[in-house]
Every structure is written in structure tokens, then in C-alpha cells.
């Protein structure tokens, strides 16, 4: 009977695995592998020996590295404030710092163009860093807030200066969070698309924008595939570094309540607070600059289609389409992301090395879409999905599918840690009180992780709303999303187009800020990794 029960359990797990594994196989692995094969088959050698390829790769890595360093430097003082400072408004900082991260890339690109009309390398690096300060700040703060202050106090009592104690005690303890967030930021910057496309113009191109240009404008599919291959290889290496760091962090420390460690700053600590304030001020300069440019005329123009019908539909129609698409993508990502999280959490709890290994593999595989460029995925869809019945390439579900793929890793990173932090004995208590295994999930795990699920939904929604890379590839001209419409608007000269674009940006920004405020009110970001 026990044997039968275990069999049933295994069958249940298999069923649970079907959705995420099937989805990842069909909508991620297949398109990406198809791209890779195309790259291997034809243009790879010529592309690899082409100086242009290496120049592009060099620039991609170089700008990503510079942006990452900048984001880490700017993120650290903010992380300190989030983790260790009890001041009025610290909670507000938590929310505000997240705003740039979830802003649509097109909006950020446009904001920086408003400040630096000529664009250029500095603007690209600044914009990429701007985007990712929140990732560093919140990831590092997450660990920092839970570090035991007493280790630092012990160092001070042994005669270390404030700086020395930080350098020799706190910094090493924070290193896993710093490296893992830096790896993620590097990925984001290396595959950053909208920002580079808008600010780089024809002069500054990365692998990502080049893949796009070759496919869309030059129809050089094999060259694009070869470039994708180069990019994926680089990204996998960065991802491996991040996974290593994360593994160390999860074994590192038990969570402590945040209130224990936060206090009013004193003496030299005020300098750090000042630095954080400066970072925040700089973060909001582009946002404010952009908002200032949104005029009532622009909002009125949203009901039209721009100069000489730049768009095929009105601005409002694009906005509605954005909302619809983001909703579909979010629902899809929640279904896949949550079943995957439950699967990984269950496998981790089960005894035995096999299930543990499966859990690790699954965990890693779920992060892959984060690293493979959205443009590559969009491109992959174009060359594979016609093989499926009912040609998905013309379906309105195509864009949500691609967006869901971008959100799923984030859903998993927010929900899985919470699921895993549920004390096993709490579940056992429920079991001894008569709750069957599915009932335990419903009565214990679900209520305890509900907040993180809601937060992940809000977060995913905002990211889907702003997603540009894959969407610009896949959205049909008669059904653009708002970011795609904005990109089309600024690509064509005309005062009306500009006004419309800025108004649309302001609108996206307001939706984003509202969503972030709700997410943080739920307080679930405290446990997840973003």
C-alpha cells in the first residue's frame, strides 16, 4: 500500500512536471536549438572569423562589464540604506529604487535620449546601469538585512575601524549576493536591447541589436544565428558563475528579522546615506526629465495614429493591446512558474540524490530564459513555430508566449525561495492533524506563499508591459504593444510622433509605479531575490 501511495505520488509529480517541462521544451529549447543549428550549419565559421563579429562581441561584453561595475558601485550605498538604516522614508526608498528596473527599456532609452540627444557610449552604459541599480541594491540588501550585526560589532570591539570592519567582515559575507546580482546584471546588460537600439544608433551596436538588424533589415538569418550562438555561449558562462555564487548564499545564513539590524545612522554612516541619496537623485533625473516632456497635446494625440499614420492603430488601441497581452503573459507565466516552483520544492524535500539532482537541474534550466536574449527567442519562434498545428506565428498568443518566457524565471525566483522557507515540520504538523499531501499544500504552503505569488504576478505584469526585445520581433503591425508603438513613433521624425511617444512613456511609467507600490505594500519582495 505504501508502495502504491509512492507510485501515485510519482505520477502526481510527473503530471506537475508536464506543464513547465513541456512549455520550456516547446517554447524555449526548441526555438533556441533551432537557432543554434542554423548557426552551426552555415555561417558560423565565416561569422567567427569575421573581425566584425569579435568587435561586436567585445563591445557587448565591454559595455556590459562597465555597466555592471557602475550598477554595483551605485547599488551598494542604496543596499546599505535599505538594510541597515532606520529613517523615515526608508520604506519609500525600497519602492522607488525598483521603479527604474521595471520601466520599459524603450522608456529608459527615450529618457536618456531626452538628457543626451546624441546618445553615445556613456549614455548606453549609464542607462544600463540605471536599469539595474535596483537588482544590486535589493539583492544585496536582502542578505545584508539578515546578516548578524554582532560579527561586525565584534570586529569593532577588537579594534577595527568602521571601514576596516566593513571590508574584512561585512563585505566578504555579502560577496555571494554581490557576485550573484552582478552576474544577473551582466546578463541583463549584455542582452540589453531597447536601450542600445535607441541610444546607440548605427554607431554602437551589440550582438543583440545586430541580431535584430540582420534579421529584420538585412534578412541575413544565418549570420544572425551565428551571432546568437556566440551570445548564448557568453551568457551561459555568466549564468554558471551566478549559480555558483547563489548556491553558496543559500547555505550561508539563516534569516533574521530585519528590524533587529536596522537603526539610525551615526557619524561616518551619514556619508553613505548621502551617497545613496545622490544615487537616488540621479536615478530619478531621467524619469523626471521624461515626465516633463509629456504634454497634454501628446495625450490627446494618443487617440490618433501619429504623423501620416506612423502606426496602423491608435495609441489607445496599442495601450489596450499592451494590457491584454501582459495579462495573458502573466497568467501563462504564473501557471508555468508556480507549477515549476512546486515541483522543484517537492523534489528538494524528497530524500535521495536523484530527486535532488533533478531539482538542481530544473532550477538551473528555469533560469536559462533569463540569459538567452529575447531577440534570439523571438527569432527562434519565427523559424520553428510554423511546424506546430494552427500556425502560432499568426496567433495573438505568440507575443504572450514570448513574454511569459521572460517572466517565468522572475516568478520562480520570487516564489521558490518562499516555498522553500516553509518549515518542513509545519507541514508535518498539518499532516498529523489529518491533512493529506495535497491538502497540506492548500492549507500551509499556499497561504504562506500567496503574498509572494501576488507580488510575482504584479512584477511579471509590469515586466511584460515593458518587454520590448521579443515583442518587437513578434508583434504584428496591426497589433503593436505600447513599447513597440513608442519605438515606431520615435523612429519616424515629426513633432506629433515625439509628443505621442513621450505621453505613452509617461503612461507606462505611471502604471509601472502603481504596480510597484502595490507589490511592495505586499512586502513579499523581502524574501524573493529581486
Amino acid at each position: 500500500m505504501a508502495h502504491a501511495a509512492r507510485q501515485l505520488n510519482r505520477a502526481g509529480l510527473g503530471l506537475l512536471a508536464l506543464a513547465p517541462v513541456g512549455f520550456l521544451a516547446v517554447f524555449f529549447a526548441w526555438p533556441v536549438v533551432a537557432i543554434l543549428r542554423r548557426g552551426f550549419r552555415a555561417g558560423l565559421l565565416t561569422s567567427l572569423t569575421d573581425d566584425e563579429t569579435w568587435r561586436l562581441a567585445g563591445f557587448t561584453v565591454g559595455q556590459a562589464a562597465a555597466s555592471t561595475v557602475l550598477a554595483v558601485l551605485a547599488g551598494m550605498p542604496v543596499a546599505y540604506v535599505l538594510a541597515r538604516v532606520r529613517l523615515p522614508g526608508a520604506g519609500l526608498v525600497r519602492t522607488l529604487v525598483l521603479v527604474p528596473f521595471v520601466l520599459p527599456t524603450v522608456v529608459v532609452g527615450l529618457a536618456f535620449r531626452a538628457l543626451w540627444p546624441d546618445g553615445g557610449l556613456a549614455a548606453i552604459v549609464l542607462a544600463n546601469a540605471f536599469f539595474n541599480v535596483a537588482v544590486v541594491a535589493r539583492t544585496v540588501a536582502g542578505l545584508w538585512a539578515h546578516l548578524d550585526v554582532r560579527a561586525e560589532e565584534a570586529a569593532r570591539a577588537l579594534g577595527a575601524s568602521w571601514w576596516r570592519a566593513f571590508r574584512s567582515v561585512t563585505l566578504p559575507a555579502l560577496l555571494p549576493a554581490i557576485t550573484s546580482s552582478a552576474a544577473v546584471v551582466f546578463l541583463f546588460c549584455a542582452t540589453s536591447f531597447g536601450v542600445v537600439l535607441i541610444l546607440g544608433g548605427a554607431r554602437y551596436r551589440t550582438l543583440e541589436t545586430e541580431i535584430y538588424l540582420r534579421t529584420e533589415n538585412l534578412l541575413d538569418l544565418t549570420g544572425a544565428a551565428a551571432l546568437s550562438l556566440v551570445q548564448i555561449t557568453a551568457v551561459l558562462a555568466a549564468l554558471a558563475v551566478g549559480a555558483l555564487a547563489r548556491g553558496r548564499r543559500e547555505t550561508a545564513s539563516r534569516l533574521r528579522a530585519r528590524v533587529e539590524t536596522a537603526r539610525r545612522p551615526s557619524g561616518g554612516e551619514w556619508w553613505v546615506v548621502g551617497a545613496a541619496a545622490a544615487v537616488l537623485g540621479l536615478l530619478f533625473t531621467p524619469v523626471v526629465a521624461l515626465l516633463l516632456r509629456a504634454s497634454p497635446a501628446g495625450f490627446r494625440a494618443l487617440s490618433g495614429t501619429g504623423n501620416n499614420g506612423t502606426l496602423q492603430v491608435s495609441g489607445w488601441a496599442a495601450a489596450m493591446n499592451s494590457l491584454r497581452t501582459a495579462t495573458d503573459a502573466t497568467l501563462l507565466a504564473l501557471i508555468i512558474g508556480i507549477s515549476a516552483s512546486v515541483l522543484v520544492a517537492t523534489l528538494r524535500r524528497a530524500p535521495g540524490r536523484v530527486s535532488h539532482g533533478l531539482a538542481e537541474t530544473m532550477d538551473g534550466a528555469l533560469m536559462l530564459p533569463l540569459g538567452v536574449s529575447a531577440v534570439t527567442i523571438g527569432f527562434g519562434y519565427l523559424i520553428t513555430l510554423d511546424a506546430l498545428p494552427g500556425d502560432l506565428r499568426t496567433s495573438p498568443l505568440l507575443v504572450p508566449l514570448a513574454q511569459a518566457l521572460v517572466i517565468i524565471p522572475m516568478v520562480v525566483r520570487m516564489v521558490l525561495p518562499v516555498l522553500r522557507s516553509v518549515d518542513e515540520r509545519l507541514r508535518q504538523a498539518a499532516a498529523t492533524l489529518g491533512a493529506s499531501p495535497p491538502r497540506v499544500w492548500r492549507e500551509v504552503d499556499l497561504p504562506l506563499s500567496l503574498r509572494s505569488v501576488v507580488a510575482a504576478a504584479g512584477f511579471g505584469y509590469v515586466v511584460a508591459l515593458g518587454e520590448f526585445g521579443a515583442t518587437s520581433f513578434l508583434a504584428r503591425p496591426q497589433a503593436p504593444t505600447l513599447p513597440v508603438a513608442i519605438a515606431s513613433l520615435i523612429a519616424r521624425p515629426g513633432a506629433l510622433n515625439n509628443q505621442m511617444a513621450y505621453a505613452a512613456c509617461a503612461m507606462l511609467m505611471l502604471v509601472t509605479v502603481a504596480a510597484v507600490a502595490v507589490i511592495d505594500r505586499l512586502g513579499a519582495g523581502r524574501i524573493g531575490e529581486f
Binding site: M1, A2, A4, A5, P351, D423, R425, L426, Q428, A429, A430, A431, T432, L433, G434, A435, S436, P437, R439, V440, E443, V444, P447, L448
Partner: protein
Amino acid sequence: MALSVHGVTVRYGQFTAVREVGMEIADGEVLALLGPSGSGKSTLLRAIAGLERLAAGSVRWDGADLAGVPVHRRGFGLMFQDGQLFPHHDVAGNISFGLRMRGVKAPERVRGLLELVGLSGYEGRRVTELSGGEAQRVALARALAPEPRLLLLDEPLSDLDAGMREQLAVDLAEVLRNAKITALLVTHDQEEAFTLADRVAVVLAGEIRQVGGVREVWRHPVDEPVAAFFGVTTFLDGTASGGVVRCDLGEAPLEVPDGRVRLGLRPAALRLSAHGVPGEVVSRVHRRDHLRLRARTSLSTVDAVAPVDAEVGPGDSVHLALDPGGIAVVGRR
């Protein structure tokens, strides 16, 4: 027998946490699994609850093998050391959890249980606002609510501070006795075991070494490791005749059959006295109601006790006399 356990073995990889354990609990009886931390007693309790896989052996209830019965169908209540209350439910929600799982709604039962554990009126409290003692009382009420056929208590008092522990131990004993609850208690604390249990099973290194009444295991530990766990610090041989035992450290009245005996001395078995074995005090520590001494005799260094107001210190010459209250007779009978 209500619960019977035969040849139960639990392994974690290569490590055998519980080795071929057998024991029984009668209806309405409270049995304590007593042993030092890491002895495997909690693992055994979890195996009985159905939370650990058995490598061998069986757990039966009224003769029926429970191997195929999952945790949630065993009808065994479990109370953890740290409560493990559901943070997303209030006190009433926690207590009624087991009832809800059976499809029963019974607010009056929740009220009755709260009264039983001395927390009347606590229904709407958040569990995060409870003190440690209150939380354990709620955990007890929660475990009792579905009327489990066996109550498993895993170090239920260990996380509480001393005063609270004593109070709750007395209350818990009363609840268990009055309701005639069949219970298995895991503890490392002898006093806790003696307060709550009818019988004690001593667990050392994953094996049950002795089962017996509370007085029985205290006075007659089966071997030296068990005796050492019960506070015996000195072992020596002696002879008994006519209700008196004699050994190198003196003699004392003790009801044992005539012949050779192995004696185990707790510190209280040797008292500061006007006559007796001579010795020299090596060290002295104040305890709550007595002085604990280390003293060097011609035979060995031994533990002894003295009244709290005794004027002795290191280097002093003293005499030590045997006190039968601190002597255990070691070995199987």
C-alpha cells in the same frame, strides 16, 4: 497493547539512527523515551508518526500494521518542541485545524480545549503574539483537538525557561492523566520524564537499553551507560547481606538480595560527615540547595555533597559517609 513497535530500524544513508527497537504502550499509558540529544529518540517518534521511512521492523496499532497508512490517516497527534503553530491562523484557527480536516466545525470544542490548557478567551489572538509557554499550550490544544488515539510529544517543554517549564509540566501531567490519554513523550530531561510518564524507556545510541517504571530505572539501571545517564559518576563493587551493602567507601542500608553487587554512586550518595572515609577536597561549587564537592580519597576522586552552609573548601580534609538515597544498583536482575 495499543501501540506496539517491533524491530524498528531507521537509517539516514550509512548512519543508523534507530536500531531494532521494540516497545509497547498500553491504552491510557504515558511512556517517555528518555535519552541524551542525538540518541535517536526523536527519530523513533517520527518513525512511529509515519514521518520517517522504516528500514526494517513494524509499527502496529491494536495489532494492525501501519506500514501502508500515511501520516494523515494514522490518527496520531504530534506536538513539536517549538510548537510549529500555523502563522497564518489565529489561535482558534490553529486549534480547529484538525477538526476542519475531518469536516467538523466545533467552536465549543475549541473553547473547551482553551479552558483545558488554561488560555480561556484566547481564540482571536495572533499566534505570533504568544509567549513561548502560551504557544506550547496552544500547540497541545491543537494536537488534542481531533482526539488522537496516540499523542506524540517531541520535547514539548525544552524550549521554555525554567519556571514556565515546571508549571507547564505539572499542567500537562494533569491533562494527560485526567483524560487518560495514551502518549509517547520524547525528552532528554529526567525530571520531565518522571513528572509526565508512567514508564520510561532509556534510549542510548539508537537503542532502547531499558524500559521500566520511573523508580525502577532510577534505582536499578541495567548497565553503566544507563546509570551514567541517570547521574551516576562513580562505579564500584560491593557486597550485600542482610539489607546492608558494604563497599570500599563505607556501608549503607539497602534492600538488595545478598551477594556481590555493582554499585553506582550519584554525588548525593556521599555526604560530608563527622566520620567515614577520609578525603581531601579538590574543588567546591555552590548548587541551589547544597554544595557539590570533588574529593580525593585513598581509592579515587569522587563526587560528594555537603550542606549549603558547610565551611569547606579546596585543601580541607573531610570525612564522607554513604547515603542510600544516592546509590543505584547496576545490572540486570
